[in-house]
Subunit: 257 residues, 4 copies
């Protein structure tokens, strides 16, 4: 259906002595980076370095905020009132905006991390709180969300720009949700398979679930990962495949009205 | 010499369950608030609340960044390369800017906290690092610094706006430095004494040291404190005294070119 | 029914620049202190100081572990696998044991804090995880728990010593649970009322709910609080009342077999 | 001179999502592990896992405490009063003791990390503070220190057991100090060279500096590192070399009276 798409990854999730995720290589493949903001991972130095890399490579910069939980890597659910969450997010956006200003860049999208992403996908109050943080800090920021999630609705309710996200390197369940990483085989490690899935999602608006069911999908951005050994090779093949299929792979701000 | 001055205080140094410093009362007396940014104290919710209070009360908003050290309240010296420090400061400025945007306010000054303030007063590289963080995030931010300190020089070297700070409620040594808090009597608790010192500093450009020596001072801003039981009463009397002496007490952006 | 009981309070929930809860005064009233362990509140210096105070005052020392969440004061629910929780608790117990050793004291009880306490009261897996942390660090530690909670069952299942806890300064609902603090009047601020409730709980094994229903209760320890302005006065009157009623108020290790 | 020595490494310096240092392989080579205690690195789960590994592999367990500084990996100097430091160390020892108790192990040595190690090597007050933390938590704990450092003196002054440490995989300066890592070539990556240096240090009580000077050394323990790509191979060859030279490689408690 579409002849253009964005390619994004979570970036900057190491800090200090810790380096994970093959940031440097991924940054040459993706067009939009969701940069950790120092709460679940990342630190000011890492954020600054990756913003500079983004500027050099023509990658657009997004915030990847998470819970304040280094030990849990933002994967632990933490309950708090929506208002508290809103300011937690605004704080992280602002911190990244400061780093982006070093390169005359803006923070142009936001994608919640880990447990926060899972909770906000289901809970409208949390999804709206994140949306209000966007409105307050920069209303042009694109809200990256799973199609059909509470974040999708929240973006619409608040009149925010939205990019619906699909996954090039992960299998889907029949209901259109991502299959759990804990099920063997659900992380796609064969570059050719990921390439095919990515093209089909964008060009045909559908994905084949791990049980063989064809599911309609609408995506403006495809996520790839750097934390698997195979991740960068998969990401490269996804990008090459998309471009060879005549699909333009663009930074998010060039894609979303 | 001068017929106008600013009155500032460190604000928002509690968080969560912790409330210190009589923020609410002080905010009605001062004209500029140096708000803790979540590293040595403060949290997003507290920052947000105080920015709202500042907007209501016509108080200008400044960043009060510190080391990342809740247990030490930012009073422990932490050594790091100037570049690391620069981004640590930029991060905190950005976070507060996000909160300020909720009220259509800008962050208009910066005053380092505690051990960072002490280190940057003596160390030109750190003072310049803080200055570069200001330049990168908003070059109009006023650098609040002790006259004659390395921060004073750094502000000049970088062409930044500067506000030289004096203390209304603290005694001075003969060399023009603040006398240590650990010496009994150096924290001025008598409102009348603080009032007199404040007026003399602004009107006459001088302060009398705790040994009786008259020292020339140049100040654009006077600091008061809320953490002593007597602090708010002292601050109120300082403001009343200044105004009764015909000295306008203005927010920093109205005072500094 | 009983002629003896323990009186406990949460202690050491400030740290660094932050002082809350009237620790010094409460320590002269209670017989057992549940000391924060540096995760939701407290720090090594505060722990050390309160252990010394406990030694001087004949107060027994217990661990008051919480989630690793200073900003949320341990009041935010954080989900994690039971195994992770177990080691989080063992870590905190061990840290407090080190402090207790300075005074040749042992950590003799454990009471979870805030959201952790609420979660473990309902969730048997979490309650057992806490119990296993007790077993591993010192199997003689008394598990303080609401009667009938999952922690009560877990203590029994693991063969741990148990102290069932009631509240002298809080109203109960008809179902025997504590009434929410958010309902006006549920925090008992009148010393005489708290005194009467405490005596009746211990002597008669019953409490009158806020709607007037008489509920059977079994308690080995009564909790009082220092964070209300009235807290210390209430606690003092509770202790005086119990003793005047002929009820011995003992440290937990002298009370629980 | 000696026919026995210990081989130690810093272990458990990842946490959560972060894995560094090749812990699993190093644990099969060394005889004593200095385990990070959650302040500069590590977390309760990692500590627990490595204590279990130590028990399986006959490796003795030591504390590797550091400053409370995850972002700086404990490599930033933080100034605090000796008393504060003492309790910071005691806290970490206690936390690790709790984990060790799961395996019926004791914490049998202590080696400060990073900036703390550097500061305590020069500053007697800090070195004594660490020693007092050892005395309070378990006076049998062996203080691992550079020969001739303030920690060496502190251990003697307090009557603590001491293990003087040398480095198998690092070059020395002519004055007997370690050459800075920032100088190319000072990290020994050739297993044969490290092996030779290790044997000569133990057997002959001397090391050849990077400028060719023969320096007398006395060591009870040799440190190896896992953070270089070559680290494990170097460590393996050091151990093999020592044993082939007839030098017994023992856990610290079997070596130090």
């Amino acid at each position: 259906m579409a002849n253009k798409v964005n390619l994004n990854a979570d970036i900057g999730e190491g800090f200090g002595a810790y380096d994970i995720g093959n940031d440097a290589e991924l940054m040459e493949v993706i067009r939009s980076a969701s940069i950790a903001c120092g709460f679940h991972a990342g630190d000011p130095l890492t954020m600054r370095r990756l913003v500079a890399h983004a500027a050099r490579s023509g990658v657009s910069v997004g915030a990847h905020p998470g819970f304040n939980d280094l030990w849990g890597f933002g994967r632990r659910r933490i309950t708090m009132p929506p208002e508290d969450l809103e300011y937690l997010i605004a704080y992280q956006i602002g911190a990244l905006q400061a780093m982006a200003r070093y390169e005359d860049l803006s923070v142009t999208h936001l994608k919640p991390h880990g447990a926060l992403n899972n909770m906000a996908a289901d809970d409208e109050k949390l999804a709206l709180a994140i949306g209000r943080a966007i409105q307050a800090t920069d209303a042009k920021i694109i809200y990256v969300a799973l199609a059909g999630s509470a974040m999708h609705s929240a973006a619409n309710a608040l009149g925010l720009r939205l990019a619906r996200e699909g996954f090039a390197d992960r299998q889907y369940d029949d209901d259109g949700n991502l299959a759990s990483r804990s099920i063997p085989g659900t992380v796609i490690k064969d570059p050719a398979v990921a390439r095919e899935q990515a093209i089909r999602m964008v060009r045909d608006g559908e994905v084949v679930s791990r049980h063989g069911k064809v599911i309609p999908v609408e995506v403006e951005t495809l996520c790839v990962h750097g934390d698997e050994a195979t991740g960068v090779a998969v990401a490269r093949e996804v990008r090459r495949g998309l471009e060879e299929a005549g699909i333009a792979v663009l930074p998010l701000p060039e894609l979303i009205d």
